[in-house]
């Protein structure tokens, strides 16, 4: 019997995958999945441009500079002292300022901006009347800081892109068939309704995992693209980069499982997808405010606990944003995985009860 069910599930998956991947009403899901990739590509292009500029300035400099040379410059040094250490600046801007010092008198100040580079970082010096008054060192691309940015994007990728992607795919598994008036095709076959539901769920899961894991991997590639091979190797093999990427893939799959099960049952219970989507979004949003027991009936609660990079909440971070990204009450990874699976199984159980009750009555739709 189990063999027959598995054969039937495979038949459902074959039918559903074709429909899910090529459905016109699902095209926006590809856009949602592609947006963070495009964001990282745009970021990588901008960073590459900056790196190219930095390298060019370093080449055009009179001396080959090291980071120690850049930090050797102190406020109050004269231009001659600066050029003695760093050489003639490759880029220099200057202008005059007339600054009032009394009712009828002004003083003229001669400003110069000097730009040096060691090939990776930039040094911006502001001089007034030949003396250093401001120093700014831009340390160039920093994988540590960028990884935090990557984590933030990943978090909102989980929270919004996968959420809405699963909504679009799983809500339509049954609801879409009802709207197309073609659900009877499945209901007239000698297949248990819960086996049909399992097949549709797995098809939805395969589709969402393919779309969002691909997006996830492309994001990682785009994120690492502009770094030097040495920096990439260091990040991937010595700073847990590869491990983090694998964990994010796992978290993405678990997010698809959790949200998928939620929206599968919602698609059977509700005619209008906006109502359950809004309800689940609010429920997931207010998760930090919920009592400990209720928190456990949420997908994001477990996903937050599984994310490998802690997103630092700096004092200047807006309150709501800080609340969304912080995880005050995390659970251990095994418990988080178990939690998501239990939540998903509960939703699938409700779906299996609901699918057995479903009737074909298109005229009321």
């Amino acid at each position: 019997m189990t063999r027959l069910w598995w054969t039937q599930i495979k038949a459902v998956i074959r039918l559903e995958l074709k429909k899910t991947f090529f459905a016109k009403r699902g095209l926006w899901i590809y856009v949602v999945a592609a947006l963070p990739v495009l964001l990282f590509i745009a970021y990588a292009v901008a960073m590459s441009h900056d790196q190219h500029q930095t390298a060019k300035i370093a080449q055009e400099g009179e001396k080959r500079l090291a980071y120690q040379d850049l930090v050797a410059i102190k406020s109050g040094m004269t231009k001659e002292e600066v050029t003695a250490i760093l050489g003639k600046p490759p880029l220099i801007f200057h202008w005059n300022e007339r600054r009032p010092i009394g009712p009828d008198s002004t003083v003229e100040i001669f400003h110069e901006d000097l730009h040096y580079s060691d090939g990776e970082g930039d040094l911006y010096l502001g001089l007034a009347n030949g003396k250093v008054v401001s120093i700014h060192i831009h340390e160039g691309y920093n994988l540590g800081e960028d990884a935090v940015m990557f984590a933030v994007v990943q978090f909102f990728f989980l929270r919004l892109a996968i959420f809405f992607g699963c909504l679009g795919i799983f809500m339509n598994l049954f609801r879409g068939e009802v709207l197309d008036r073609s659900l009877h095709f499945y209901f007239l076959a000698p297949i248990r309704r819960d086996v049909l539901m399992a097949g549709k769920f797995l098809a939805g899961l395969l589709a969402t995992c393919t779309i969002f894991v691909t997006s996830e991997l492309l994001q990682s590639v785009a994120f690492l693209w502009h770094f030097s091979p040495q920096a990439r190797d260091l990040y991937l093999y010595h700073n847990h980069g590869l491990e983090h990427a694998a964990v994010y893939v796992g978290v993405t799959i678990l997010a698809c499982v959790g949200y998928g099960a939620f929206f599968l049952v919602a698609g059977m219970l509700f005619r209008n997808p906006i109502i359950p989507a809004a309800a689940v979004l609010i429920w997931e949003g207010i998760n930090p405010f919920l009592p400990a027991l209720l928190k456990q009936f949420s997908v994001i609660y477990y996903l937050k606990s599984l994310c490998p990079v802690d997103i630092p909440v700096s004092p200047g971070t807006p309150g709501l944003f800080a609340l969304l990204i912080s995880n005050a009450d995390p659970v251990s990874p095994p418990l988080a995985i178990l939690g998501i699976l239990v939540v998903a199984l509960l939703a699938l159980f409700v779906s299996s009860v609901q699918v057995r009750r479903m009737e074909i009555n298109y005229t009321t739709e």
Partner: protein, 312 residues
């Protein structure tokens, strides 16, 4: 295991709207036609029979199986619905093949069986085209192929002749008749009463969600007491025959046929009338034929339901 399709006090309500009410049926093998005007409950009865909707009250069994067990039910039930929608992007062949794969059939068997079903409805040439590009008649035929594909014992067909040309109609009717002869249960709903009349072994007349009559057409007709039986007699001296027949109290009305060689007569007691006719024939009156004129579905339908929406 029962060998009948049984409805026991079945009612179905869609909210406050009545689908069917207090239906009791016991359908034997052969061709059974569901007849009734739009909204009378024909499709609801078929959907109940196949588990697409569940009864609000009562119990249904198809050859001993409950209708909420699709895994077993559809092993021997095929249903050609009126729903004119198909899974998107499928060709005619893929439509049948996918259906057979869903039932768990091995892929090679499914392919062979799908082609056999397609051949039975003469759709081989169009099988590789998308169903979306089919004409109404082709869609009807491919739905029939789906219902027939797994050689079901029970074939439920909702308006199966809609959209078919005359040749295809006669082919399909022959197909249904062959299935019934092999002992299958063929349940057909149709508006086209003369076709129902030709193919049905028994009829179920529905009106406003109620079964108003069921059984073989002749026995249903015999039970309609308020309408006298009409009999057409072909003979050489119809006036003389009419005069003799009016001598008996069971002849109500007689009219001479337009060609002057026949008599249409109404009687309250057909059995006694036929006895009298035997006597008259023995007395030398030459009678070519005697045939009942209103024991067909059309007449029964008109007497019980009225003549609205009847397609003759």
């Amino acid at each position: 295991m029962s060998d009948r399709i049984i409805f026991e006090d079945v009612s179905k309500f869609y909210g406050e709207i009545l689908g069917v009410n207090r239906v009791n049926l016991c359908i034997p093998p052969g061709i059974t036609s569901l007849v009734g005007p739009n909204g009378s409950g024909k499709t609801t009865l078929m959907n109940l029979m196949t588990g697409l909707v569940q009864p609000s009250r009562g119990h249904i069994e198809v050859l001993g199986y409950p209708t909420d067990d699709p895994e077993n039910l559809f092993k021997f039930v095929g249903y050609s619905t009126q729903f004119d929608a198909f899974p998107k992007g499928l060709t005619g062949f893929q439509f049948i093949y996918s259906y057979l794969c869903l039932s768990g059939m091995p892929l090679q068997d499914a392919e062979r069986t799908a082609w056999q079903a397609i051949e039975r409805v003469n759709m081989v040439d169009a099988a590789s085209r998308k169903v979306a590009a089919y004409s109404k008649g082709m869609r009807q035929r491919i739905r029939l192929a789906q219902a027939l594909a797994h050689n079901p014992k029970v074939l439920v067909l909702d308006e199966p002749l809609n959209g078919l040309d005359p040749l295809a109609r006669s082919e399909m009717i022959a197909l249904f008749r062959a299935s019934a002869t092999e002992g299958s249960y063929v349940i057909i709903s149709s508006h086209i009463l003369h076709e129902v009349d030709v193919i049905s072994d028994q009829v179920i007349l529905l009106s406003n969600g109620y079964v108003v009559a069921e059984g073989q057409i002749q026995s249903v007709r015999n039970e309609i007491q308020e309408h006298p039986t009409q009999i057409l007699i072909r003979c050489d001296r119809p006036r003389e025959l009419a005069a003799k027949l009016f001598e008996s109290e069971y002849t109500i009305e007689a009219s001479i046929h337009n060609d002057g060689r026949g008599l249409l007569l109404k009687t309250r007691d057909a059995d006694r009338f036929y006895l009298a006719m035997n006597q008259l024939a023995l007395n030398g009156l030459q009678i070519e034929s005697i045939a009942p004129a209103d024991d067909d579905v059309l007449s029964v339908y008109e007497y019980l339901i009225g003549n609205e929406e009847v397609v003759r």
